[in-house]
């Protein structure tokens, strides 16, 4: 299987959210059912953001036009499936990993330790977790898997399959990239100056490519996505700890060896004469000269 990609063409998206629902029903992700407990964003973007059971959200951003209407940017919030996926790099348990065949970033719930490092590492603020609570028991990650089960069974991901206007496409990444560039050319011809492809090179190349119709700010995407430099510290911290631990144990070992056979005569202090006396011999080892200011 060649490297795959999901391509999202924001200029074709009608923001119906069919993809959000298809994602939920295929992956059997629950939605709130307690009466009126659903979160409302105050806009059409609902739920307001990704959450433990929501892997995909269509984002809405509107900028008033001079005359009538708005520049209405529909974005696709969800895993970008980076080539250089920092979530995979930081995952301590091997839970978050790359599907070698397709390039998608997938996870194995059974291996998740709930450390949530992948969220800290993600430049797109994507991974979310089940069971996040004080106990911390059984926290498990959730995010888009590009419906890897479907892909492996020759179907497009659920979101792509359901997309009526054809805003979502799925196929070989090269092919998707080509279509994306063609779409951008067309949009530029139509006067959408800011139109661009997003994801060609970001994070080593994303496996969810985006055709942006309006300026990037309207999509809430980072211009130059990068993982926090602090997370790079993990790279040097562990070797240092390893070396340090070995050195420390070695040093202490030598110290121990040099101390073997150490013996100290028992002492007592004569508080009246201010003498330190060897208990066994009764000799005064040392006199504390209080007048001289000794203590």
């Amino acid at each position: 299987m060649a490297e795959k990609a999901i391509m999202f063409d924001s200029s074709r998206c009608s923001a119906c959210k069919g993809c959000q629902v298809a994602c939920k029903t295929w992956n059997l992700l629950p939605s709130p059912i307690e009466l009126n407990s659903q979160k409302w964003s105050g806009t059409l973007q609902n739920p307001p953001d990704l959450d433990e059971n929501t892997r995909l959200v269509i984002s809405f951003d509107e900028k008033p036009r001079e005359k009538y209407g708005v520049d209405w940017a529909f974005g696709r919030r969800g895993c970008s499936h980076c080539t250089d996926a920092p979530c995979v790099q930081v995952c301590p348990s091997g839970c978050m990993h790359k599907d070698e065949e397709t390039g998608f970033v997938i996870f194995d719930t059974d291996l998740c330790t709930g450390c949530q490092y992948c969220h800290m590492a993600c430049p797109f603020d994507v991974p979310r977790y089940h069971n996040v609570g004080l106990s911390g028991y059984n926290i498990t990650v959730n995010k888009c898997t590009a419906c890897i089960d479907r892909v492996r069974n020759d179907r497009a991901p659920a979101c792509v399959s359901t997309c009526q206007p054809g805003a979502l496409m799925f196929g070989d990444r090269d092919e998707m990239l080509k279509i994306a560039h063609e779409r951008v050319d067309l949009l530029k011809e139509k006067g959408f100056e800011a139109a661009r492809v997003y994801g060609e090179n970001e994070m080593g190349g994303l496996h969810t490519l985006r055709v942006l119709k309006y300026p990037i700010e309207q999509y809430g995407l980072p211009e130059n996505p990068q993982t926090s430099p602090l997370l790079g510290a993990m790279g040097w911290m562990k070797p240092i700890l390893g070396v340090g631990a070995v050195a420390l144990v070695g040093g202490l070992g030598i110290s121990f060896l040099t101390g073997l056979g150490y013996h100290r005569d028992e002492m007592r202090y004569d508080e009246v004469n201010h003498d330190i006396i060897d208990v066994d011999t009764g000799e005064t080892i040392r006199h504390i000269d209080k007048e001289a200011g000794e203590r």
């Binding site: 009608s14 009538y68 209407g69 054809g166």
Partner: protein, 836 residues
């Protein structure tokens, strides 16, 4: 729809007006996008900037309820700039026909000729053509209408064939063309903008773009929905769009047509099936006391002198034969008298009227089959209170709808309500089988996948149980006109169990003598052309003829035309003639004769539906919707050379600009909504003179002084109708959790409302609380020099449901309607708004 969904891809220009097709008919997005890919232009005209508008090339705002002004201006523009399709108009429409001397329209009064103030109705005799000559049907042996004399055909006097006077030069001042031209000359750009509220540049841009489809090879399609129809002049809204399409030569061509995007999965089927006061299955007319008190009168009043509807007696007799079976004989008029006759005040029995009847105590029992009028009908609070007068109510549905629980609405006291309410749990769509008709008239088969949950049952089973019990009661106890009930044919069983397949046989039609439903041995008719008026054929609904015609496997829908799943696409126009079945006769684009010129040559060689090659109609990518050949006695066919009879469902076989068909106008004329923020400047009447139910005390008209904000209601893509069906899906509540009212930033600032605030919206009929969604997608408009604010509300909530509840927005909408269709005016009314 004259076309179908896949056909949108063939359009050069798409005009969405009175519809939010991407949101409410999302599959349209696929086909509109295909058109755009091929270089089409897309125009969206809507009071607010919708998700649909966000994708369009041109967006034009409009004040709710001013579409006739908008399109009247377009007609004027097209005629003035000479952008109309000359050959099409001259040959296929009634533009050349000369109207009665007395026909006129007077803007000084706002009335067409024939207004009778005492009857409050039009005498429409001046809305007809001048007759040049009259002749009789040839009913002699071997003649075209010999069947009239066949034994078994009910006796009736055939209509006189009328030939209208015409002026091919279209210069006669009384010819349709000149009258129409004069009528719309008043609809100037300036006046349209003052009334509708958009600026002139935008309006001209729209007119120019759409009028470009007047070029013969170009196709333009109009997508509309309830935004056009839900007005007190809704039928005329749809008519004026037809006028535009005819002027531009867009009807009957691939990528053209007038496409009503219908809102319910099988509303097309329900309309086909005549679940309407005045209708009989297959768009025939239900017997009524004035025109058709008996079968003879029905045949005489309904049968057209020309065109395809000369065949109506065949359809009616076959339908009666299906209705009463062996009890229907020529001697008893095929049981015609047993059917109820619609009384003179038939309009009072349409939905809004039924609530008036409940209020008055006339109506005592009520069935709601998968419909939720307590939320979906206007002036809901009045409706709820009226329902409390019912003795009994039966609701068949999936969930406890607001209609089922009207007695425990927040403003009702259950203890005081004596209505007995039955709730019957219904099966889901995939828990039963049957036929469904989409907006493009495709009949498709649904296969049962699982058994219903619990005790839920398919509606056909519920109907059968109830009917069987009623028949049992009448057999045991008798009753007035019991024979109307006891003579009904009700034998739709397979292996003793009620089943949709025998009903499908009845839809398709069969030869009575050689068929036996009981043993499932059916002699199904190939098509409706084989129907007879002599009682030898039975057919419940003639337009479905041919959809289930394989007599070899009557029990297997997959072996029937309705069950076809092949992808052949002759002409690559997306016609898919071997996928399911499209009524009538599997025609995918109706009026397709008009896709070719007077000589039968297609206007656009790339979009060929039918083509005359000089000797015959050799290319028939679609099933011809005209007489393209005649059958000879020896079984051969003789091709019929191209003629101008492109609209053969009309007696004159030409499309109508001026028509006598509607009650309230011969040509669409602008009137203001029942509740309007301004004065009608096009004529002296403020409202349509025939607006229905405006005088009923419950309508409680509000005036602009008191309620200065124009309101409209609509759906969003995430929910559907009253929400009973979508609020039961947690995923849908999650993506659209709250009811909201959309308003402009300007109005919000004026009222001190911030996004998300709870606001109170009220008028004389009610008050609701909703959350504000403040957006630049709504803008105030300047109408006749004044700034008019508009708000829009979604209507998918009520007090029921265990996941998501809200308020009933239709408490605010006026229960007034159109005199032709009796549709309520949901789309334009007045309210005021304040922060809660």
């Amino acid at each position: 729809m004259t076309g179908h969904y896949c056909d949108f891809k063939n359009a050069d220009v798409i005009l969405t007006s009175g519809s939010n097709n991407l949101e409410n008919h999302p599959v349209s997005s696929k086909w509109v996008q295909r058109a755009l890919d091929a270089g089409a232009t897309w125009i969206v005209v809507d009071p607010r900037f919708t998700r649909t508008a966000s994708q369009a090339d041109i967006y034009c705002p409009i004040r709710p309820g001013t579409d006739i002004a908008f399109y009247g201006g377009m007609i004027n523009y097209i005629i003035e700039k000479d952008l109309w399709q000359h050959e099409y108009v001259e040959h296929y429409t009634n533009a050349t026909f000369i109207m009665d001397e007395g026909y006129s329209f007077d803007p000084e009064t706002g009335f067409f000729s024939g207004w009778d103030e005492s009857k409050k109705a039009y005498d429409k005799h001046t809305w007809h053509y001048q007759v040049e000559s009259e002749s009789e049907w040839d009913t002699s042996e071997g003649g075209s209408f010999a069947w009239v004399k066949d034994p078994g055909v009910p006796e009736f006097t055939p209509p006189k064939v009328q030939v209208a006077r015409k002026d091919p030069t279209m210069q006669d001042p009384q010819c349709v063309w000149q009258l129409m031209k004069k009528h719309y000359s008043r609809y100037t750009i300036e006046k349209v903008c003052e009334t509708c509220g958009m600026d002139e540049d935008t309006l001209i841009q729209v007119y120019e773009a759409y009028a470009s489809t007047g070029a013969p090879e170009k196709a333009g399609t109009i997508l509309y929905a309830l935004g056009q129809t839900q007005h007190t002049y809704g039928t005329n809204n749809t008519r004026i769009m037809t006028l535009v399409q005819l002027l531009l030569g867009n009807v009957g061509v691939a990528g053209g047509g007038l496409n009503a995007l219908r809102g319910e999965p099988n509303v097309q089927g329900a309309t086909d099936m005549a679940m309407l006061v005045f209708d009989f299955p297959g768009y025939l007319r239900w017997p009524n006391v004035s025109e058709s008190p008996n079968l003879r009168a029905w045949c005489e009043s309904q049968t057209y002198y020309g065109g395809f509807y000369t065949n109506k007696p065949k359809f009616m007799v076959s339908a009666l034969k299906e209705w009463f079976g062996e009890h229907a004989t020529v001697e008893n008029d095929y049981g015609y008298d047993w059917l109820p006759k619609i009384p003179k005040n038939g309009g009072d029995y349409t939905t809004m009227g039924t609530f008036h009847l409940m209020d008055a105590g006339t109506m005592k029992g009520y069935f709601a089959w998968g419909q939720n009028p307590v939320v979906s009908d206007p002036n809901s609070a009045f409706n709820r209170r009226a329902m409390a007068n019912l003795e009994w109510l039966v609701v068949a549905d999936w969930v406890e709808t607001a209609t089922a629980s009207f007695w425990r609405a927040p403003d009702m006291k259950p203890e005081d309500i004596q209505t007995e309410v039955y709730f019957l749990p219904a099966a889901l769509i995939y828990e039963k089988s049957g036929t469904i008709a989409n907006s493009g008239r495709w009949l498709q088969w649904r296969y049962k996948a699982v058994e219903p949950v619990g005790e839920a049952k398919p509606d056909y089973e519920i109907a059968d149980m109830l009917w069987t019990k009623i028949v049992e009661l009448y057999k045991a106890e008798g009753g007035p006109s019991a024979e109307s009930i006891l003579n009904v044919k009700w034998d739709y069983y397979v292996d003793g169990k009620i089943d949709p397949r025998p009903v499908a046989w009845a839809f398709n039609g069969y030869k009575v003598a050689s068929s036996d439903m009981k043993s499932a041995k059916m002699d199904l008719l190939p098509a409706f052309a084989q129907l007879k008026a002599d009682g030898s054929t039975a057919c419940a609904i003639w337009i479905y003829g041919g959809y289930y015609n394989n007599s070899d496997a009557p029990l297997d829908p997959a072996a029937q035309p309705v069950g076809r799943r092949e992808h052949d696409d002759p002409g690559e126009l997306g016609l898919y003639p071997k996928w399911a079945f499209s009524w009538p006769a599997n025609r995918r684009i109706i009026y397709n004769r008009a896709s070719a010129d007077a000589n039968g040559k297609p206007w656009n060689p790339k979009r060929v539906l039918v083509e005359w090659n000089g000797t015959e109609w050799a290319t028939r990518n679609d099933v011809p919707d005209f007489v393209f050949q005649t059958a000879n006695a020896d079984g051969t066919n003789t091709p019929v050379a191209p003629n101008d009879n492109a609209f053969f469902m009309k007696p004159e076989q030409h499309a109508n600009f001026i028509s006598y068909g509607l009650a309230d106008a011969a040509l669409p004329e602008h009137y203001e909504p029942f509740e309007s923020p301004t004065k009608n400047t096009f004529n002296a009447l403020q409202n349509s003179p025939l607006m229905k139910f405006a005088d009923h005390p419950s309508a409680k008209k509000g005036d602009f002084g008191e309620f200065p904000i124009v309101a409209t209601t609509y759906s969003i893509t995430e929910h559907w109708q009253t929400g009973a069906q979508t609020r039961m899906c947690p995923a849908l509540n999650e993506i659209a959790p709250r009811q909201f009212i959309e308003m402009s930033m300007e109005l919000a600032e004026e009222k001190g409302i911030k996004n998300g605030d709870e606001v109170i919206v009220w008028n004389n009929r009610g008050e609701v609380r909703l959350n504000a969604l403040v957006t630049a997608r709504f803008r105030p408009l300047t109408v006749n020099g004044e700034t008019i604010h508009q708000v829009g509300m979604i209507h998918h909530w009520d007090w029921t449901n265990m996941f998501s509840t809200g308020e009933v927005v239709n408490d605010l909408t006026p229960n007034v309607g159109d005199p032709n269709s009796f549709i309520p005016e949901f789309k334009a009314f007045l309210v005021d708004v304040k922060k809660a």
